[in-house]
Symmetry: C2
Subunit: 164 residues, 2 copies
Amino acid sequence: MVETLQVERLLVNYKTLEEFKRFKEYGNQELSMLEDLQSNIVENDSESPFFGIYYGNALVARMSLYRVGAKYDQYFNPPQDYHELWKLEVLPDYRGQGYGKALVDFAKSYDLPIKTNPRINSHGFWEKMGFQKAHYEMERDLGENPLIWMPAGVEEKETGENPE
Amino acid sequence: MVETLQVERLLVNYKTLEEFKRFKEYGNQELSMLEDLQSNIVENDSESPFFGIYYGNALVARMSLYRVGAKYDQYFNPPQDYHELWKLEVLPDYRGQGYGKALVDFAKSYDLPIKTNPRINSHGFWEKMGFQKAHYEMERDLGENPLIWMPAGVEEKETGENPE
């Protein structure tokens, strides 16, 4: 086990974007950030939605986190701001050492509910982290398998309500 | 190549739900349908959001399709009803024989735009089907890598607009 794991907000710069290429879930989001940087739409070293953990100089774990406004909350009761968490990933050589848990604990530290759409085969991890399946509603969830975590005093929105 | 591929709307019943277990993307949606059937919330043989192709008596390809109302359209110009397509999957022994294309052609036949969030490594297929990457907008797309298809007269919503 690693003794202390420092979670940092990642800045948009060429070094970070290069490091992102080592992660499996590299997609449109990263390409869009790169284009925005290249065309000066975003400044170098501006804040990104990613948080990560470094081992020495190398980024070895990351996640993306976005605060959704209460107005758009379709998952929790009472409706409130919550975090959408995605692209949680630890590089293969660093798994099983608490990096994933450190990132999720960081997300929980805001004391807001969290929603994620897990990748296949990661349910054991999310269960250990205290996440539970949201009741599936097709009009809301479409192709997702949403998992949710709630701080004290929050519950899942009642099922069968119209999600609109 | 198969000569004629008949795309059918799948009905919610125990046979269909048993067949769904052979598909890799079996998740909360299928479990929810099973529970609704078991508790008589939905009637046997009611319509599902799934369409599929049978080879003899066996379901060998499927997709889910849901019509999103123009009010919720954040992708197209002018804003309009469109289809969200997910869980497009052909069983391994039946790949490369046109089943996937037949399902996508069926979705296109409504002459409405289509949006999908493809699985990793399927971009070659979607490109052949005429889909293109939507410009990524974090507040809208979060962890998705949206691909879109548009019939004549429709274009992608201009980027940089506020998605709210």
